[in-house]
């Protein structure tokens, strides 16, 4: 007689793996997928001064790009705002990348002892030890018209009168961003650099490469994944920001985040949602292009 098969587990319905994946799936569903879907749905709703009207309308998107097809009157508000945001983003990206790379390079290749490396790394996290609000308020006495920097500049005779561009300007916004977000570039770039086999640097030197040539032909190509990850952090954070740009820019600098915030404060939720969807699309596009350049999955 045939005996029962030794393996009696039901075939085709393995329950345990599904259960194991369920908590994370639930969390993602609840806090990631659902809000995104809600935003997308609300962006199609209609609204009046005092109410939201469930609907499927293109109104919010149409109003957002109103007049944008007519370039003879100059750029429309939305395009100008995007341009201003992208310009800030590009400046912040350039500086954070430069500084992040330099700091990582120093930590990875010049600091010899691991203890020292860790100590210096912790110093880099210092900007995060205080709250965002205090950090930004602290810039005021430093950069203001009567601030420390201006007093120093006037006192030493470098300038005749206090400089206004120090505060509530592109400069101060970029400064605050760079101060904060350089760490987000430093960490992944440092991580990439620490993986570089030190013998490769010697091999380059043996092949006659100068310090700059080694940097350009060996270190930077091998650090690209870290640079891309850091860039994604910075771009995502700056594109969506409204607090730093608001406070440090003296509420004078246009940004998409700011537009969304203002629309929210006027309870124009559908319009804000539409802005958010367009912003999300743009940022995803940027990330798609960057990951097309470098396969970061290989590194993660």
């Amino acid at each position: 007689m045939s005996s029962s098969p030794p393996d009696r587990r039901p075939i085709g319905r393995p329950v345990a793996p599904l259960l194991q994946a369920a908590p994370l799936a639930l969390v993602l569903l609840l806090f990631f997928v659902f809000p995104l879907l809600a935003t997308a749905v609300v962006s199609l709703w209609n609204y009046t001064e005092y109410s939201l009207v469930p609907d499927v309308t293109q109104r919010n998107y149409v109003e957002m790009f109103e007049g944008c097809s007519n370039l003879s009157d100059g750029l429309c508000t939305t395009f100008r705002t995007y341009l201003s945001t992208l310009r800030l983003c590009a400046m912040v990206w350039a500086f954070t990348t430069l500084f992040g790379f330099a700091i990582s390079y120093f930590l990875a290749f010049h600091v010899r002892s691991d203890t020292m490396r860790m100590a210096l790394f912790l110093v880099c996290t210092a900007p995060f030890l205080t709250s965002n609000v205090i950090r930004m308020i602290s810039w005021l006495p430093l950069l203001g018209r009567e601030g420390v920097v201006n007093q120093f500049l006037v006192g030493t005779g470098l300038v005749d009168q206090p400089q206004d561009w120090l505060l509530f300007s592109d400069f101060s916004v970029v400064l605050a961003f760079v101060h904060l977000y350089t760490l987000f570039v430093t960490v992944p770039v440092f991580n990439s650099m620490m993986r570089i086999d030190r013998r490769l640097l010697e091999a380059a030197q043996d092949a006659g490469a100068s310090g700059w040539q080694t940097l350009w032909h060996v270190v930077i190509p091998l650090t690209k994944p870290g640079l891309v990850i850091g860039s994604i952090f910075v771009i995502v954070l700056v594109m969506g920001d409204f607090v730093t740009i608001g406070v440090m820019g003296g509420q004078q600098i246009a940004s998409i985040g700011k537009v969304i915030q203002v629309q929210m404060s006027y309870l124009q939720f559908p319009a804000a949602a539409a802005q958010a969807v367009v912003l999300l699309g743009l940022v995803l596009l940027v990330i798609a292009v960057m990951t097309r350049l470098i396969d970061i999955r290989r590194e993660l």
Binding site: R199, A203, A204, Q205, D206, A209, H217, V218, P221
Partner: protein, 318 residues
């Protein structure tokens, strides 16, 4: 030349002349200073004192690429982001050689090591032996006067090691340039070298042709490290006898007495492990016929003898 790291001396007053076109092996246990010596030759370490001359030119102060040496690194240090072709062409690119020319020369080198078909692969897509040959091509592309190899065979599996070893020797013979090869394997040194330099604690213990170093060890360390020797304390001092020249005699005869520990079949004969009176470990290689004639059992007492001409008196007393 001497190299100090802080308070410790890694290489102590190394005085070595390597004739052009020689295959030289720096041999020694780990920590003996052989790799440091090689790195000083290459210019990756600065010597604390002394000079390095290549073709009678002082090169001590020069950067690696200006010395006319090229180094092949342990585990090869191929650039993972560059194809084989670009890896080989790297040093030419650093010198500003135009793309067409450097690729042509790199292709020539890859042809020499029979890897032309794989020119566009990345190093990670190659086997260990192929990576080794790319590294060799990369080192040779600038026509160096001396090639410095740091444990070039240690990353390969034993089967490949034998083949690559033969290839290295062939390249050295065909190109006629000096090879300085660091290794801790005496087999490698004996098989490859024209000049074996045995190092210990930052000093040269003994140098000579493989035959000289193996057949006539100067010290007990040399005899033990090269292997195939029994170091025996005799009334007139320490001496070494090759295991294949150590003869087994009946108990009571011969110069020293020993007890048989075990007998191993080696295929071509038998290796008899012996214990000396003071617990020394000795070995005697005995031919098949001889052992069949007179079988040995573990625990049996035997005498050890040798032809007087096979006895090598050692310089050290202990």
């Amino acid at each position: 030349m001497t190299k100090r790291f802080g308070g410790s001396v890694a290489v102590d007053a190394l005085d070595l002349r390597i004739a052009a076109g020689t295959y030289c092996c720096l041999l020694g246990p780990s920590g003996c200073g052989k790799t440091t010596s090689l790195r000083m030759l290459a210019g990756h370490e600065r010597q604390s004192s002394g000079d390095i001359l290549l073709d009678n030119h002082e090169v001590s102060g020069l950067p690696p690429a200006k010395r006319g040496t090229a180094m092949m690194f342990q585990s090869y240090a191929l650039f993972p982001h560059l194809s084989c072709l670009d890896n080989v062409a790297f040093s030419l690119r650093m010198r500003g050689v135009a793309k067409a020319e450097r690729h042509a020369r790199a292709r020539g080198m890859l042809r020499l090591v029979e890897l032309e078909a794989l020119a566009d692969r990345l190093p990670a897509q190659l086997s260990g032996g192929q990576q080794q040959r790319v590294a060799l091509a990369r080192a040779l592309v600038t026509n160096p006067a001396a090639l410095l190899l740091d444990e070039p065979l240690s990353a390969l599996d034993p089967f490949l090691r034998g083949r690559v070893r033969a290839e290295l020797k062939r390249f050295q013979r065909e190109l006629g340039i000096t090879f300085v090869h660091v290794t801790h394997s005496q087999d490698e040194a004996l098989a490859l070298a024209d000049l074996v330099v045995l190092m210990r604690d930052g000093r040269i213990e003994q140098q000579g042709t493989p035959f000289e170093v193996f057949d006539a060890p100067r010290t007990a360390f040399a005899a033990r490290f090269m292997g195939g020797h029994n170091v025996i304390a005799l009334p007139q001092g320490l001496a070494a006898v090759r295991t294949d020249r150590t003869l087994l005699r009946p108990p009571g005869e011969g110069a020293v007495q020993a007890a048989v520990r075990g007998v191993e079949y080696t295929g071509t004969g038998f290796a008899v492990t012996l214990a000396g009176p003071a617990g020394e470990e000795w070995q005697a290689l005995v031919g098949e016929a001889a052992l069949r004639q007179r079988p040995l059992e573990a625990g049996e007492a035997v005498g050890l003898g040798w032809d007087e001409q096979d006895l090598r008196h050692l310089a050290d007393s202990t």
